[in-house]
């Protein structure tokens, strides 16, 4: 077949650490990393080989508007979450006031709510026909001005309320880990309380703040439901529109590649903000900063601020969803096909969680065995999927899968005269693969965090006692990693439940999930009917939040958190 001279690869180059003949773990890891990296590479390559005609068309139509809207969104949401996230973290770590211990974790709860759920609840509440405006007009007359919720300001407000927990969580951990000694040293050197915050604590927490900011903004970029509902044109909306409206996949890919640029920009920004300084403080046990007691109106103001945010960002929307659900239960507005959507969602989420955990195990174990820098590099690249919006991944997944489908179909037709049809793109397989690309980072980083706690000498001990690599995994790693495996599965499961744009673009025809259903119903203003699916997603979303709360530093015994530095950021 191949008559050309094959390049001779030196045998030694192929050798990988403890890798023995017949040991396929590193190969498996490499294959998974490569597979998952493919869609990202597809989108990147379309950036490198732009199509002039499409770009000209995009330029003349909506490219500028998209870029401008995206920049406004990033700037607005960025400022909002910075202010809210760091401010609240500062408040609950540095001061004691009524309800502080409760607020410490209540403030994380909005994480359970996808932005699009919060978005439609707020839209329904504050819309012209909604209860708030109706009351307003009833009180002050029909002509009184009221801010329009379906505006850039509205989108930014909703996303800020939904995404501030990323910064809050990471910054609070960073503040908790700072030692009282550091603060006392600063005070002894003549800084006031405010000076300590601005000159010591905030700069020390900078890497965490940067990581949280990057996470929040990536979520904002990836969001489709909110911006779509509010009529705010960003890239995700445009990709959806040219995909389904114009069936122009090339244009969708080009748009996805621009969105990818924004994401990469954020990643670089985060690295830049992290800076070169070392931020980790002295190892071992630190005496944590002791919060100062607030008295009088200050105490109540602090409680009111926290209470207000929790109410607006979580309690109020949940109450509204509950109200709608209960009021429509069994009535004509209720969705009789809800059990089917729920089942669809659960199946999809369970299958993906299973696949993602298996893939993460193979990836992590292969890496551990081989220690090959090239596979490690690929694995890191594969884990970038988490930073990419679902729409970008959908676009990147579809092109290679369609190619495989067509090739396979053509081959089967030619050889056997049968057609395989759209084996991958038309089925759940394509969707699960897209989720895998997006969420592999979630499962593999959770697993990695558990795996690094198992010292390599544990493997060696088992090997020296006559156990093969697979046996070490089965008899040592998996039993020790049970907690991490469960954690990883839950996180992926819930993320899949919430994911909207990738599902919308890739689902098999007629296969609707809860998220898809929410989009269909809310885009036609059937708020009440969308409440039950939304409530289901929120209930699922609370699971990972509970996991987070269990792992984040408790109020009193904070010093132990130094050991398990809670690096929730998948970018770290």
């Amino acid at each position: 077949m191949h008559t050309s001279q094959a390049p001779t690869v030196p045998y030694r180059r192929l050798r990988l650490g403890l890798w023995q003949k017949g040991d396929l773990w590193p190969v498996g890891a490499g294959v998974i990393a490569l597979l998952v990296a493919t869609p990202i590479l597809v989108v990147v390559s379309s950036l490198i080989t732009p199509s002039r005609a499409i770009w000209a068309h995009l330029w003349h139509t909506y490219l500028l508007e998209l870029v401008w809207n995206t920049l406004v969104l990033i700037a607005g949401v960025g400022m909002g979450v910075l202010l809210l996230g760091t401010g609240l973290a500062w408040l609950v770590t540095m001061y004691r006031f009524p309800g502080r211990r409760l607020f410490e974790w209540l403030l994380i709860l909005p994480m359970a709510m996808p932005a699009y759920v919060m978005g439609f609840v707020f839209l329904a509440l504050f819309d012209y026909t909604g209860p708030v405006q109706s009351t307003w007009r009833w009180m002050f007359g029909a002509k009184t001005w009221f801010p329009d919720i379906a505006s850039p300001g509205g989108v930014i407000m909703v996303m800020t309320l939904g995404l501030y927990p990323y910064i809050y969580l990471l910054t609070r951990t960073a503040f908790c880990e700072q030692s009282a000694g550091m603060v006392e040293a600063a005070r002894a050197l003549g800084l006031g309380e405010r000076g300590v915050f601005w000159k010591v604590m905030l700069p020390l927490a900078r890497p965490s703040i940067a990581a949280g900011l990057a996470l929040a903004l990536m979520e904002a970029l990836a969001d489709f439901g909110t911006v779509g509902l509010y009529g705010y044109s960003t890239f995700t909306v445009a990709i959806y529109r040219v995909w389904f409206g114009l069936f122009n996949r090339e244009a969708a890919t080009e748009l996805a590649s621009v969105l990818l640029c924004f994401t990469f920009g954020l990643l670089f920004l985060e690295r830049g903000l992290r800076g070169r300084a070392r931020f980790s403080q002295t190892q071992g046990c630190v005496r944590p900063v002791s919060p100062r007691l607030l008295v009088g109106w200050r105490a109540w103001a602090a409680a009111a601020i926290c209470g207000g945010i929790v109410t607006a960002a979580f309690l109020l929307p949940v109450a509204q969803l509950l109200y709608w659900t209960l009021s429509t239960l069994g009535g004509p507005a209720s969705d009789t096909r809800y059990p089917m959507f729920l089942l669809n969602t659960l199946i999809l989420a369970a299958v993906t969680a299973f696949v993602a955990v298996i893939a993460a195990v193979v990836l992590a174990y292969g890496l551990r065995l081989s220690r090959s820098p090239s596979i490690g590099c690929f694995a890191r690249f594969a884990c970038m999927g988490y930073a990419l919006p679902g729409s970008v991944i959908a676009v990147g997944v579809l092109l290679p899968l369609a190619f495989v489908d067509h090739t396979l179909d053509g081959f089967l037709r030619q050889m056997f005269g049968i057609s395989s049809g759209l084996l991958l793109t038309g089925s759940m397989a394509g969707l699960v693969f897209a989720y895998l690309v997006r969420f592999l980072a979630v499962s593999s980083q959770t697993l990695e965090a558990g795996l690094v706690k198992i010292t390599p000498s544990m493997d060696m001990a088992a090997r020296s006692l006559g156990t093969s690599p697979g046996g070490v995994l089965r008899r040592i790693h998996l039993p020790l990693l049970r907690g991490s495996l469960g954690c990883a599965a839950i996180l992926v499961f819930v993320d899949v439940m919430k994911e909207m744009p990738a599902t919308l673009l890739l689902r098999p025809f007629g296969y609707d999930t809860l998220a898809v259903r929410i989009w269909q119903l809310t885009s036609e203003s059937f708020w009440e009917a969308a409440a039950l699916p939304a409530l289901t997603i929120v209930a699922g979303g609370i699971l990972p939040v509970l996991l987070l709360i269990r792992r984040s530093p408790p109020a009193v015994m904070r010093s132990s958190a130094m050991q398990e530095r809670c690096d929730e950021s998948p970018l770290a």
């Binding site: 403890l18 000498s457 001990a461 090997r463 020296s464 006559g466 046996g471």
Partner: protein, 365 residues
Amino acid sequence: MSLLSLEQVTKSYPAQPLAAVDRLSLGLEKGEILALLGPSGSGKTTTLRLIAGFERPDAGVVAIGGRVMANGRMSVPPEQRGVGVVFQEYTLFPHLTVEENILFGLRRLATPERAQCLREMLDMVGLGSFAQRYPHELSGGQQQRVALARALAPRPALLLLDEPFSNLDADLRTQMLHEVHAILRHLEITAVFVTHDHEEAFMVADRVGVLNGGRLEQLSCPEEIYHRPATRFVARFVGQANFLPGRVVRAGIETDIGTFPNSLNLPEGAAVEVMIRPHQLELRPDAAGNGLVISRRFRGADALVIVQLPSGMTLYSYQPSTLGFQAREWVTVGAKACHSVVFSADKSWQEGVNSDHANRATTPT
């Protein structure tokens, strides 16, 4: 035929210019205990890992019981080598009980044999009543014993111990040292153990190999290593040492504190250095003496007395703490050496450039 033999074994890591293990050769007879002694980074743990199969050599041959386990082209995986390993941090499997830990390597045995082996092992390490405990419910010394029992249960041909005593308190360490030594002797186990503590090495091992920069500096019995170090590095690593400059004359080797016998028959006129251990130095109060006491530090049983010679050279000596030397007191310095250890003053002879640098930490301060 040696039970373990290393021939010209070389291992280097990427991004490190010097080889971690450099053309290392040694052989070990059945039932012998070898200590690999060296500072951190000297390649002693890498050597252990090469023997166990956790690393593959770039070149050279590792053979156990006459079977080639690794050469530059192949490497038998660790699970097929029949080598037991005891790790520095014990690495007991935290999800398994003491019993399950010890039985971990015995899956291929029939149940009655396993039960008997378990009983023997538990009796041997004196942990019979702890079989159902989990590792975190044991003290450091008990964990160490379980780790030993686990490694010995499959009857390995060779036992490797990686700094097995370094995580123990000083008292417990000595006790465990004796226990482990007794067990190894009783079972006639061939063992290689790695340590950076020369006293540990001297107490346990039949032979000691001193490693420096990946190379074997000396491989001999403990007495030989201490009293007749082959290189300046070995001399300093296994205890404090003074190096007195001297010159070979007809009567012997002439130094500032007297003349030493020229036992090596060095050519007359050669510039050399004589190694003297601090406790070999004798100080006598003498107003017309050749040494000036600079300082005296009480240490308990003895005192460290630092003396300066007219040449400016300072010597470290240990004197019984009952002798009260004062700073600025003149003394006569002599040596009670039965043999002299002599090195060429020419640095390039016998040792590399690194050795002096690597071992500065052992000089008393």
